[in-house]
Symmetry: C3
Subunit: 446 residues, 3 copies
């Protein structure tokens, strides 16, 4: 029986073999679903992240308007809606292809451009997988497009309550359409800083500091709001709605889950979950840091400081969210929280630069801190403090110069500041002819 | 050696073959996970989309209350919370089975009904895959149920500040529970307009125009708010909170990612990502279109126009989001943005129909525009302008008639308008006995 | 020809067999993707759920500040931001390992502790799959960490407008860091109540009642707000912003999709979709229930009652969302809606416990109702009303005692109530030195 079986084995094997072969063929069809499912889940994750980054624009709009006076609220909301529209459209026209030139470098790895407009290699609804098969061309475009506008939004906060609408919109078109993506190509477009080993996971420098440098130039060239530093006295100009500011901060924190979580560029559970943990704990530690520092310096814990503390923690962890330990994330966030309170007070009382919402302290100061912190805390031995510093300086030099030139040219031509009368009356009436809270009895602070 | 191997090949092959066979068996078990993962990711995407459509109800509540007077805010919020509850419950009782009758057509492909209540074919927690295995019965029900209530919410805006609460709630029950799903069956339920080749991807007509026709009938039968068109003069009645209106618009835009993205009915990365790009760019172009037209006509850029511009772009792209080019999407959204400003002013000053929030201009005018635009811009040669027009007219005729009859019967019986005293004092006190902003000093506009 | 083929079959089979074998090898690589995709989609779902639970903290902040006076708004927002930070950090330090001791039980299945801090078994960015391979260690930590803070937030509402900031923060650290996770271990950590068969799907008892008992103790020990029950008369103290309260409720409902949907602990389409349906319908039925009861008792439908009605439905369905029929879910929600209106009025007028936002009625009363409802409506015959009752009593006894002890010790030491002057002036000025609505003319209600 056994011998008989062995003799017949070749024939039996034949049947097994043919059966196996066709099974394998059909199993390929099945197995393809595994790949297809991976593609779908990665793409879905990136789309969810895109929505979260989108909602940051509402977060910025709410925070900025909450921390300023009610007579300028319509203007701020208008700016923030416009920036998003401008950001998405300029990114479509040229930004995306400036930031990700692919092989189309023009000057070394410093400047590249892959052409005007956007189009998927596989046609409009093409199922082309991009970025190692993780998501589509269109996903990549939209996720990055949502990022783009945030850089200009940072500027918006620092120049609030006195900038001319038209000048700000022109600045935004240039800054978001050209400066941000050009600078972004140095690292995320695989340019020279990327080759040097500079690390900025989700944009402490590429997004937040770049925006922060623009904000600094704008605030300096505009000068302070009327009455802010009169006769040597520093006047506090409180925001008109703390609920609105708080809504803004919670939405920004929410959005950061996509900002950092999406920057993994796939739904890979290990890094995604880990990044969300470091992000959350840094934000929480930023709250506690700011609470303590505010209690120490201001004696009473200031809500706007604590709100900025959470953002400080978030900006701080953004550069290294995937590469520092949990304890390091807490330390980075906590220091950012301490730092933001000191910076807000220092910039206001010592430098006397008028930044109505604390954008410089949050995005510029903590953006730099977060980028350097990668050099101090990263678990990856290839990350170097010196290279991080080079990146910070290089980005600062070019972003600040570019923003200065744009604002200076605008100042010399159409002007960047509204009239004194308009500023006193509020930009809502002056620029838009409408009130933000019709029917409410409101005292103007000026 | 080689010869020996060839001779032994059959036996060696036998071992290989048997090994391969059992490997294949076990690989089938693995491959099943591929299918299961596809099911999970599709279902997860649809659930995320459901959440996004859900949040549109907060968007509508915020937009509508922000653009109206503070004395009617409680009333508006009450209506919007109620509509969602009514929509979900009536959809459970009969709406879902009216809209998707399956084989249970009663009169041709005009009217069908698959029975009362909802129940999964596989029992309460059954793992039945619905819609080509993409998601469960319950997912389908909940996603569509969230859509249902939006049609009545559109009406809410146009009849705000003067409609009796009870009458509006009765209208909503009938409109959401019967009219909307009955009309929906014509296309999404595979009815006669679907067979004719009418195309409405996510509801420019099925949701927005249908709601818009209801809004038109309500606004006409109610008449304008007191003082709105006194002695030939047109009085502007500004909204009481532009931050609230802006929060509303951002949340609506966010929700539209689920409204359009979920209408792909799977997480298929190609169409999903593409639809989100066209949706976003149309909204952005709508902002720019409305900004330009507002600047031209009104001289100062009006925030409420720009907010409505983004919604106009979103409503406009909804019918063809998956079937037009990126450039066409931008054009459709831009034209919608121009159109909405002209329509708001035309309806107010020429037609003198009082629509407090611009619902007619956004949902009816741009809903029609978007549906017709499919006939003009679609990349699918089967889409025909004439058929699109037939759909627009058919939906308009029945939706308007139905809404007229419901409102007219209510007007003739329990009345649809609050008393003049109540309107002057505000519906918050009149209908609900409470204030929206207790403690705040507010001037009534009337 | 045929004979020739049969003779050659062994050799041909050999080729087939070898081909099949290598195909199978490569197909294993493919098939692995199926498992990996499952892991990714489950983890992605859990992260989305985490975000939704996160946004509940904004929901609570908005609801609580909306339903209270504007002079205490900064204080409430400050508390709610702080609680989230405290919750996440204490959960990191000890909460997670108290709640999920694994094998590290110390006293029977009553108390366990798996050690200080958090660390993935596979290192910082380890790809370890947790919970039957559905998600990572970090996902588990973050999802549960977001839950933790909600228990203290419930307390916040009931003690609003009169509690000392410092005392509340100390209470929160202890309650969230120790009491909540210790109690949680009894059921979700696989402790004694879990072994007894107690069922609480997503936390009607473990989260909401536990918070509710803390709220009850706080409200009793603090006593009512000044003027609330003067000379036998009950004074209504209306909330200052109904839009804010409504935003809060919509965000809480949204968050509940993650609270309940994530409690499935995977993206399994059957239970996830079903749970979202029962959750939504219970919320909708709660709205209708509260609307009817408010109309009956109060004659005019009260918006805050209807808002609390939706939350009542949500709290009520939380214990049994996966185990009751659709009809039962509607009944549970509807009864919760009726119940919450009666409870709010009873607690205010009969018990004279001052609960500014109705937290006791929503979270304690409906949390108990929902837990007992599992015993009445569950489709699982193993669920027993008696065991549910034992769970309710056990949690109540320990949570109430713990909260009482903490508050009593604080009261005897640093005090828990602000001074009468501070309460009259508002806690915003008293505790934080700032206004919530700078520039607005507001009448203090006291």
């Amino acid at each position: 029986m056994v011998i008989n079986f062995i003799e017949k084995l070749p024939k039996i094997a034949g049947i097994f073999a043919v059966a196996a072969f066709f099974c394998v063929l059909s199993s390929f069809a099945e197995a393809a679903t595994g790949d297809e499912a991976m593609f779908r889940v990665n793409n879905t994750w990136m789309m969810v992240s895109t929505f979260l980054v989108f909602i940051m624009h509402l977060g910025f709009a709410a925070l900025e308007s909450g921390l300023t006076q009610s007579k300028n609220t319509v203007n701020i909301l208008f700016k923030n809606v416009s920036i998003l529209a401008i950001g998405l459209l300029t990114y479509t026209i040229c930004g995306f292809n400036l930031m990700y030139p692919g092989e189309a470098w023009v000057f070394g790895k410093w400047f590249g451009f892959a052409g005007w407009g956007v189009s998927s290699p596989e046609g409009a609804a093409g199922l082309i997988a991009y970025a190692d098969g993780n998501y589509t061309y269109w996903t990549d475009f939209l996720f990055q497009g949502m990022f783009a506008a945030t850089a200009a939004t940072v500027v918006s906060g620092a120049v609030a309550e006195r900038i001319k609408l038209k000048s700000f919109l022109i600045f935004s078109v240039i800054f978001v359409g050209f400066v941000y993506p050009f600078l972004g190509s140095w690292k995320w477009g695989a340019g020279w800083l990327d080759e040097m080993g500079f690390y900025d996971f989700a944009g402490s420098t590429l997004v937040h500091s770049v925006g922060g440098w623009g904000a600094l130039m704008g605030a300096i060239l505009l000068g302070p709001r009327l009455g802010k530093y009169d006769k040597g006295r520093i006047k506090a100009i409180p925001g008109h709605s703390m609920p609105l500011a708080t809504i803004g901060v919670f939405l920004l924190w929410l959005g950061w889950f996509g900002f950092n979580g999406g920057s993994v560029l796939s739904a890979d559970p290990g890094p995604v979950s880990y990044v969300l943990v470091t992000t959350s704990l840094a934000a929480a530690a930023g709250v506690i840091g700011a609470m303590i520092m505010s209690e120490v310096i201001q004696k009473k814990p200031d809500l706007s400081m604590v709100l900025n503390g959470s953002l400080a923690g978030l900006v701080g962890i953004t550069a290294g969210a995937d590469t520092v330990s949990v304890l390091s994330a807490i330390i980075i966030g906590f220091i950012a929280g301490l730092l933001v309170v000191v910076a807000v007070i220092f910039i206001d009382t010592k430098l006397r630069i008028d930044d109505p919402v604390g954008a410089l302290s949050v995005h510029l100061v903590c953006g730099i801190w977060g980028t350097l912190a990668v050099g101090l805390f990263s678990t990856n031995p290839e990350h170097s403090f010196v290279v991080q510093l080079i990146g910070v300086v290089a980005y600062g030099a070019v972003a600040a110069t570019a923003a200065f030139v744009i604002f200076a040219v605008l100042k010399a031509t159409i002007g960047i500041r509204v009239s004194q009368d308009e500023e006193k009356q509020g930009l809502d009436i002056g620029e838009h002819g409408m009130e933000s809270y019709a029917g409410f009895q409101i005292f103007l602070n000026q």
